[in-house]
Each structure stands twice: as C-alpha cells, then as structure tokens.
Amino acid sequence: MSALLEVKDLVVHYGAVQALHGVSVHVEPGEIVALIGCNGAGKTTTLKAVSRMLRATSGAVSLAGEDVTGLSAHQLVGRGMAHAPEGRGIFLNLTVLENLELGAYLRRDKAGIAADLEKAYTLFPRLKERRSQVGGTLSGGEQQMLAVARALMSRPRLLLLDEPSLGLAPQVVETIFAVIKGVNSEGVAVLLVEQNAHKALMIAHRAYVLETGKVATEGAGKDLLASPEIQKAYLGG
C-alpha cells in the first residue's frame, strides 16, 4: 500500500533564494499530518509546491502511487487534491455561493454537488445566511469557513490547509478545528500547516517540524507535544 501523498526531496527557489532544501514528507490515507515551524521555515512553500501554485526546482510528488510532479494545479484537483491557500484565497468579487460552486468546478454530478452544498451550509450555517453576499463583505472568520467549505466541495481525498487559525477568534478556531476533525473521520486525509503548534499537534496523527527549509524532526503528534525541545521552541513552554 503506497502513501496517499509522497513528497520527495522538494527544492524550491524564489529567484536566487533557496526556500526549500530537499523536503520529504508523506501522508497516509486517513491521516492528519501537521507541518509546524517558525515563520519562513518553508511550511507554506511546501504546500504551494505540492499543489503546484508554484514550480519546484526539483523533487517529486506522487499521489496515490501516481507520479504527479509535472501536472498543473487544476489537474491535481481532478485527482483528489484540494488546497485552501494562505490568506484564504477567497474570490472577493464573487458571491459566497459562486465561491462554493467554483470549488466543485470539475464535478458533473449535479445532485452530488447540491448535497455537498447543503452539507457545507450545515457545517457553517453562517455561510448560508451570507450566500448571496460577495466574498469581500465577509469577516475573516467567515472567509476562513468559506475557504475550508470551498476546498471540500471538490470531494478531495487530500486536503491541504494553510494556517486555518490565523487571525481568528478562539471560538471560530474551535469551529474550524472541529470541522477538520470531522472531515478527517470521514476518511479525508489532511496536510495542515499551522502557526499554532499546540492546536495542530493536538489533532495531528503525525507532524513534521520544518526549520529553514528542511525537516528537522518528525514524529507522532502526541510525542512531539510531550517533547521538551519542541515545547521550548514552539509551544512557549
């Protein structure tokens, strides 16, 4: 049984600056895997290179055993990857409903899309109230809910989430993390980038710690949570 996502020796440059120095991570089916680390460690860059928002210099990505290194972003969506990007990436000029419908852009099953739309509204009732408002009028928390709901509209096997808790009120963070856990329990694997290491390690099965573009440590979420070095460096302990 091969991993759902297998990333090998990913190297990324921004112009002359090397951001990733050979990152290798993998996600098994049904897992929540967290990427933690400081600002500039390369967490977001890793996600972006995996979903092809940016081009890697070298390295290989495979999805469920298939080599997808050369594919473009929209083709990866068709193969079951969804990415809720940094800064939420809401189309501020489109309505909430249009944003959600775009999440299901490649799907043809009208009934299934309608059912998933209802499900999204059940998970986040606020989005239903605001469905005909344009994205630009939403609060930060609502935008984050929309970003997660929209990523789920493609019925992904693998969900990439970038900083879902950034800048949100604690209550909203709870809601979002509850949804992530719920989605995962239905079988969707999650690769989660988080600034809030404590929250991330609490729900993650496994985690990688990135430092200056390299994997410094990896392990089970619980073990890292208990590790004295990690506590000192990332958990304010």
């Binding site: 928002m53 929209h74 969506v77 990436g89 501020l92 000029n93 489109l94 419908e101 999440g103 852009y105």
Partner: protein
C-alpha cells in the same frame, strides 16, 4: 430638435461599435492584465473575413438573409480562431515574462496584421489574399430602407438592425459572464489565476476562451460598421481600436459593464462635440477624455482602485 435626434442616433451607433470592441480589451485585460493592442486589427480582419465570405457566397448578386447570417457567424468564427491563435503563439510563451514583453509583442502583432494585409496577393490562392493597401468595397448585405421618420430624421433598417444586433450581443455577453460556469471561471481567473487553478479551473483554457470571445465581438463590430460605411482597408482598425481602448479605460479597464457604458458615452460625446462645436476635433475628443480620466479618475467609472504591487 431633429438635429439633436440625428446626433443621438449617430452617437448610439458609433458608441455601440466602440463598446463591442472595448469589451475585447477589457476582458483580456481582466484575465491577463495585458492591453492587447492587436485587438483593433482583429477587428480589421473581421471586416475582411466577411468581405471574402460575402464574395464567395455571391452576396453582391443575390443577397439573402441566410447569407447575411452566414457572413456574420463565419467572420465571428474566423476572428475567434485568430484571437485563439494569437494568444497561443504570441502571448502564452511570454506568460511568465515581465508584462512589458507581452505589451511590445501585442504592438508587433498589430503591425504584422496591418502591414501583412497590405502585401501583394499570393499566387495560387482562390481568393485575392492578402488584400493589399487599396481600399475595398464591402458588398451590400441587404438593401437600405427607411423604416420610419421622426421629424426630419430618417431612421433606416441599418440603424435599427445594427443597434439591435449590438445590444443583443452585449446582453449575450453579460449573460455569459455573469450567469454561466465559464463566465464565473473567467471572473475567478481575473481575480487571481493561481487561486482559480486550485479550484480545478483550467486557467489557460479560460484565457483562450476569453480571447476568442473578445475577438468574435470585434468581428461583429467590424461588420456593423462595414454595412453602413463599406470602405474597408488594412489600416481601418487603428483608430476604432485606439478609441475603444479609451472607452475601456474610461469605463474602468477589466470591468465588463464599464466597457459598454464607456463606449456609449464616448460615441455620444464625439458626436455631440463634433456636431455642435468643432467638427474637425472629432478624433481628438477620445484622447482628451483619456487624458482627463487618467488625471482625475485613473481607475475609470467602475474600475476597482488597486495599489500597484512593487
């Protein structure tokens, strides 16, 4: 009063033409942030495509409604294909390069079409192509008939049909952009192509489609002009192209309803200033408007104010 009415009729007919061409500029700018300066020349190609089609069908000897429709659809189709090819061959390879590169390429394509069409005919073609620099006369697709008179203003079937076709096309486009899946994808790409890709939207295909759509509208505009002013030549796209660009900037470049309204206002103001004040300044009005817009409201009537990222 009748003079005023006449100016309104003329202004609307010129304005809808500007609007149709301006839509191509604004849509392409929306998805690529590129001013496609070859767009006016696609308009010219539209006129010639219709010219050749009309001759092939023998429109001059025996015009029928069916042939008119074929000429319209055919020339729109040919220009859609041309727009697709221009994007594919000239702009796509430069997508990752600085924007100035594409802009200069656009000017190059514009010259290629303008001067390429002025070359002597190639041998061995069934049609006289390229047409050469001498103006050609566009055959009459149907006869001009005065439908009704208001005071001293005669309104012909040409005026009514052109206006109806132009408005119909604009409503059709409005529907595509705001009510279809392709249109939603277009708006998503114009907001942010890399996030659009994460939705599964094939960004390159949406860009191609946008070029095809804009170019087809330019062809329709060229035909509407050629019907009432039948002199066509390879340089005919320059002035309407520039003015439509002004209309697009005036309405707020990137904004679809803005281009329509910008075109109408430009056409009407040209007609009124030329009609009541200084007729020799007709062509200067568009550029005066451009200068004023850029000074006072650079984002245009409906444009979003954005800070340029550096």
């Amino acid at each position: 009063m009748s003079e005023f009415l006449q100016h309104v009729v003329n202004g609307l007919s010129v304005g809808t033409i500007y609007a149709l061409i301006a839509l191509g500029y604004t849509m392409v700018y929306g998805v690529l942030r590129l001013i496609n300066f070859a767009h006016g020349d696609v308009y010219m190609v539209g006129a010639f495509a219709a010219f050749y089609l009309a001759h092939a069908l023998g429109v001059a000897e025996n015009p029928t409604l069916g042939k008119t429709v074929v000429v319209f659809a055919g020339s729109m189709g040919i220009c859609a294909a041309l727009g697709y090819v221009i994007e594919r061959l000239a702009y796509r390879p430069l997508r990752e390069r600085p924007r100035l590169t594409s802009l200069i390429t656009a000017i190059g394509i514009s010259f290629l079409l303008e001067y390429g069409f002025q070359l002597p005919h190639w041998n061995g073609l069934p049609i006289e192509f390229p047409p050469g620099p001498t103006p050609r006369f566009f055959p009459e697709l149907f006869q001009r008939v005065v439908w009704f008179e208001v005071g001293e203003v005669a309104i012909s079937n040409y005026d009514v049909i052109s206006l109806a076709v132009a408005i119909g096309l604009m409503l059709g486009l409005q529907f595509i952009v705001y009510r279809t899946k392709f249109g939603t994808a277009m708006r998503a790409v114009s907001f942010d192509p890399s996030i659009a890709g994460l939705m599964g939207i094939p960004v390159d295909r949406v860009i191609s489609g946008t070029f095809a759509l804009g170019s087809a509208l330019a062809a329709a505009a060229a035909l509407l002009v050629a019907i009432s002013r039948p002199r066509i030549d390879p340089m005919m796209g320059m002035m309407p192209g520039l003015k439509a660009f002004v209309a697009a900037v005036f309405g707020g470049i990137g904004n679809v309803p803005g281009a329509m309204i910008g075109g109408l206002i430009l056409g009407l103001s040209e007609e009124f200033v030329a009609g009541y004040a200084f007729s020799s300044y007709r062509d200067a009005i568009a550029f005066a408007i451009l200068i004023i817009v850029l000074l006072v409201k650079p984002e245009g009537l409906f444009g979003r104010r954005t800070a340029e990222k550096v």
